[in-house]
């Protein structure tokens, strides 16, 4: 397969300090006179707050107890990036006012001299609750007479809308073969290894607020701090220097940031809050939690006719600050990488007494791919076709491009504009060794393959900023509005800058994760680091190159068009280097230099903005499982991911993202599930119960790269942060279904719930009649 590498994958510039233990995460920030906070959280899934009494805690030494009544900004609105017009309100307050709607909801804040003491004193804060009937499931929420969670949520529906193209009912009625099913993707959480945390330091005399925190989206936090707390935006600084993973958990503003900052303002002392793991599992946003009823059909030749689906999100107690993004994408992506002429997709978000749902790596895409790709396998059985063959007959081809899925995200019609899906699919099938034959092993186990194809979205939220400066020694610093949680931006951005500017990689340093660096940016989420961040760096580097060459032309008294920059030196076309280098130009441009014209430095800023809502690519995952049908226990023996990253900026980093994402997806398909009891209490409150993949649980992954260039951005890159998580559930379920029902009888194995716990797999074995 073709693959262009920008350079021979230079090793990461950011590694040394991480390896030496020099990263500075939020809990590594220690300020003079700093106090420590804990949140008092609701132990009840649904209750009225009758009263809160912090007097005993204050008498015992607490520096501050805050409740909703103490927050002057309690009724101010959040600043959100995107809001679906069908949402019927239901956002949380910064602390619960008169009612709590999930276990873990912040009710009060307590501040003390140290964390241990704060936890002692928190036990003295008395909250009087009057329990209300808990809505522990979508069924509870829909039951006649169920309490309504928010006044606007008629029937406990927080949002409902339809995505439609053509006439799906007629198309299905006219189909030769039909398949339908009901699929549930369990509730999960992104689970970064570093929990959230905030250190807020309000300088009362200057009116400045500085906040160190573990976030993916520092500018959105700054906007919220400024508008909600009523501070000048440029006097609020948010720093997220080193962040121990995000995966969607930290891509929005949470109430804790605002309340801690307010506490610092009240106390005139720095305040630190570090989320512990129990809080993280209860109160950091959850995700997935989608049930999809779906029916598809095909004609006698196996061409898809129509798709009709109902997508229901178990939303939790509030619409959080990312709205209903995952439900919207879960619906919009159901047509996947296929030509469906007719479709009708109803999306409904139902309120329950659980933690609010927001994004997790893949953000709606795994939720779409599990049902559609499971159902394509079932339809193939009905049509008497190989599962791979049915896909071949329906994949979007290069001739179909640009291909509109027929659905919308954020009101914009989504379309794949580039790629070669059939070629990528064939590469995955051929390289993996995929077969639809089931192999019986002597010990009674069965080996079977399964695959899943998926359209892969990247690069939402449409702009990013980069600023590049060259100092008097010719050293280059890139400032970007991004954050990093380890995706390699400091290295790839340096590569992009070095190539576009014409300097050595080791002359370029990259700084990000601080709102003081550029006026406005976004951050790292939605697979946007390469598409938006790297293209912003490219634009700034090109502008700076042109500026430097213009200056060089003045200094050398020649046409800048005859000049170029190589390894930091100005060279003439067809001749060698001149005596001028970037250091000399930087000196000339600055104050006191011969070219000084009011600029303080040799610099350029560029905002990359795209009106293309999403860049689409494709990925195919192929899994081989070994199943013991006596117990339902199984192992993933082999796993291949084929994908299209577009132009590869750093192959080592791209591979690392794909493998890391896929293993997260495999763990999610096998293990990860947040379970509630019938009373709305979270049962999986530790990492022993909420499980993710560990090293022995996964095989060595194989990768196939198939590169095509998207036209959505100058670099020709696609995002690759999330694709790994999209297809594992479907690929593994398809392999298991085949292993359970090896002879392909009409009896369908019915593996319709993720994660694929051995008990669920065993139930499917039983149902298949062994």
């Amino acid at each position: 397969m073709t693959r262009t590498d920008m350079a021979a994958s230079p090793l990461r510039k950011e590694d040394a300090r991480l390896l030496r233990g020099q990263a500075r995460c939020v809990d590594d920030v220690h300020l003079d006179r700093m106090l420590h906070a804990v949140f008092i959280r609701s132990p009840m899934p649904h209750a009225e707050i009758v009263g809160i009494d912090g007097s005993a805690a204050l008498a015992a030494g607490a520096a501050l107890v805050l409740t909703a009544a103490d927050l002057p900004f309690i009724d101010k609105p959040w600043v959100v990036r995107y809001w679906h017009p069908k949402i019927r309100n239901g956002m949380p307050k910064f602390l619960a006012t008169d009612r709590v709607r999930y276990v873990g909801e912040p009710v009060a804040l307590l501040v003390a001299e140290d964390r241990y003491l704060a936890e002692d004193l928190a036990a003295l804060v008395e909250v009087d609750y009057r329990p209300l009937p808990p809505l522990a499931s979508v069924e509870d929420a829909r039951a006649p007479g169920a309490p309504i969670l928010h006044p606007e949520w008629d029937g406990n529906v927080a949002a409902a809308f339809r995505l439609e193209q053509g006439d799906a009912d007629a198309a299905l009625a006219g189909s030769v073969h039909l398949a339908k099913g009901r699929f549930t993707f369990g509730r999960q959480t992104p689970l970064p290894l570093e929990c959230r945390g905030v250190v807020a330091d309000y300088d009362a005399d200057r009116g400045d607020l500085t906040v160190w925190m573990s976030t993916q989206a520092h500018y959105n936090v700054r906007q919220n701090l400024a508008t909600v707390l009523g501070l000048p935006e440029y006097q609020v600084r948010v720093i997220a220097e080193d962040v121990g993973g995000g995966f969607g958990a930290k891509s929005r503003t949470y109430a804790e940031e605002l309340v801690i900052s307010h506490a610092s303002r009240v106390l005139r002392r720095p305040v630190k809050w570090i989320e512990d793991r129990l809080e993280n599992l209860q109160a950091t946003t959850h995700s997935r939690g989608v049930t999809t009823e779906i029916e598809i059909g095909c004609d006698a030749e196996g061409r898809f006719t129509g798709l009709r689906a109902s997508v229901v999100l178990d939303l939790g107690g509030y619409v959080f600050t990312s709205g209903i993004m995952t439900a919207e994408i879960a619906g919009a992506h159901l047509p996947n990488c296929y030509r469906f002429p007719h479709q009708q997709i109803d999306v409904q978000c139902v309120g329950t007494n659980k933690t609010p749902i927001a994004t997790y790596r893949g953000a709606g895409q795994p939720e779409a791919v599990f049902p559609i790709e499971s159902l394509v396998d079932r339809l193939a059985k009905r049509a008497g076709l190989a599962a791979a063959e049915l896909r071949r007959r329906n994949l979007v081809t290069p001739a179909d491009l640009p291909h509109r899925l027929g659905t919308t995200i954020a009101g914009l019609k989504v379309a794949a504009e580039s790629g070669d899906f059939p070629a990528l699919f064939e590469a995955a099938v051929a390289d993996s060794g995929y077969s639809e034959e089931v192999q019986d092993l002597p010990d009674g186990r069965r080996l079977a393959w399964g695959l899943a194809a998926a359209i892969e979205a990247s690069g939402l939220v449409n702009f990013e900023t980069a600023n590049i400066r060259i100092d008097g020694a010719g050293l280059v610093t890139v400032f970007c509005g991004m954050t990093t949680q380890g995706q390699g931006q400091p290295t790839t951005y340096a590569q992009v800058c070095a190539e576009a500017l014409g300097v050595q990689l080791d002359r370029v340093a990259v700084r990000m994760g601080d709102t003081q660096l550029v006026p406005f940016g976004r951050g790292a989420f939605a697979s946007r680091g390469a598409i938006f961040g790297a293209n912003a760096v490219l634009g700034a580097a090109q502008a700076l190159r042109d500026k430097a060459l213009g200056c060089a032309g003045q200094l050398l008294q020649c046409d800048p068009g005859e000049l170029r920059i190589e390894e930091g030196r100005i060279c003439r076309a067809g001749a060698g280097p001149t005596e001028i280098d970037l250091a000399a130009i930087a000196q000339a441009v600055g104050p006191g230099g011969q070219l000084f014209s009011g600029d303080a430095a040799l610099e350029a800023q560029y905002v990359f903005k795209s009106d293309q809502p999403v860049t689409y690519g494709m990925t195919v995952h192929v899994a081989q499982v070994s199943l013991d049908p006596r117990t339902g226990f199984f192992a993933v023996k082999d796993y291949l991911v084929a994908h299209d990253a577009g132009r590869v900026l750093n192959a080592m980093i791209v591979d690392g993202q794909i493998v890391g994402g896929a293993v997260d997806g495999i763990g999610g398909a096998l293990f990860s599930e947040l379970l509630y009891d019938g009373e709305g209490q979270l049962l999986t409150g530790s990492l022993a119960d909420y499980m993710v993949a560990t090293a022995p649980d996964v095989p060595r992954l194989r990768l196939v790269h198939h590169e095509t260039r998207p036209g959505t951005n100058p670099l020709g890159v696609r995002g690759i942060g999330e694709g790994g998580t999209i297809a594992p559930g479907a690929a593994i379920a398809n392999a298991l279904s085949r292993a359970i029902d090896p002879h392909g009888s009409a009896q369908e194995a019915g593996l319709s719930v993720l994660p694929l716990s051995p008990e669920r797999v065993f139930a499917a074995c039983r149902a298949a009649g062994r």
Binding site: G21, C195, V659, V692
Partner: protein, 151 residues
């Protein structure tokens, strides 16, 4: 209580509350921020340090229990001449992304390396890593880094 111990070769003599976790003592009292904390329930492995040669969870040890012990953290691995062998292999194999689990993984492996017990076969490496959760890398490059150092 008075705590005397040795941390990264230096004598430490501090007054601590008995309930202070070793992880908090190292991070917040000694300001050795390399050791990270991921769960405080002994599951994730991020806080693994070496105590008297053994890799242990520092969130499951009270600092006072380290009395008389030699404690080592990730800050001890790099010498004046650069990264230690495991750290260097992690760099070359891209065995870290966000880096939050890295100190715990390194200290687990360092303890094995010091007793000549770094596994040389992939299955055994994965088993040795089973007590360390990494959310970024998918473990594959960590496995490769270990195999590189072990061979």
């Amino acid at each position: 209580m008075r705590l005397h111990c040795e941390v990264n070769g230096e004598a430490v003599d501090r007054e601590v509350e008995p309930r202070m976790l070793l992880s908090d003592f190292l991070r917040h009292e000694l300001r050795l921020r390399g050791t990270k904390v991921g769960c405080e329930m002994g599951v994730c492995g991020a806080c693994t340090v070496i105590v008297d040669g053994e890799p242990v969870r520092s969130c499951l040890l009270f600092a006072v229990q380290a009395t008389g012990a030699a404690v080592r953290t990730v800050e001890s691995l790099a010498g004046s001449d650069g990264l230690g062998p495991l750290q260097d292999a992690f760099h070359r194999h891209h065995a870290l992304q966000c880096g939050y689990c890295t100190a715990g993984v390194l200290m687990t492996l360092q303890a094995l390396a010091e007793r000549g017990a770094l596994p040389r076969e992939e299955g055994a490496v994965r088993e040795a890593l089973s007590g360390n959760i990494c959310r970024c890398t998918g473990y594959q490059n960590i496995v490769d880094a270990v195999l590189d150092v072990a061979s």
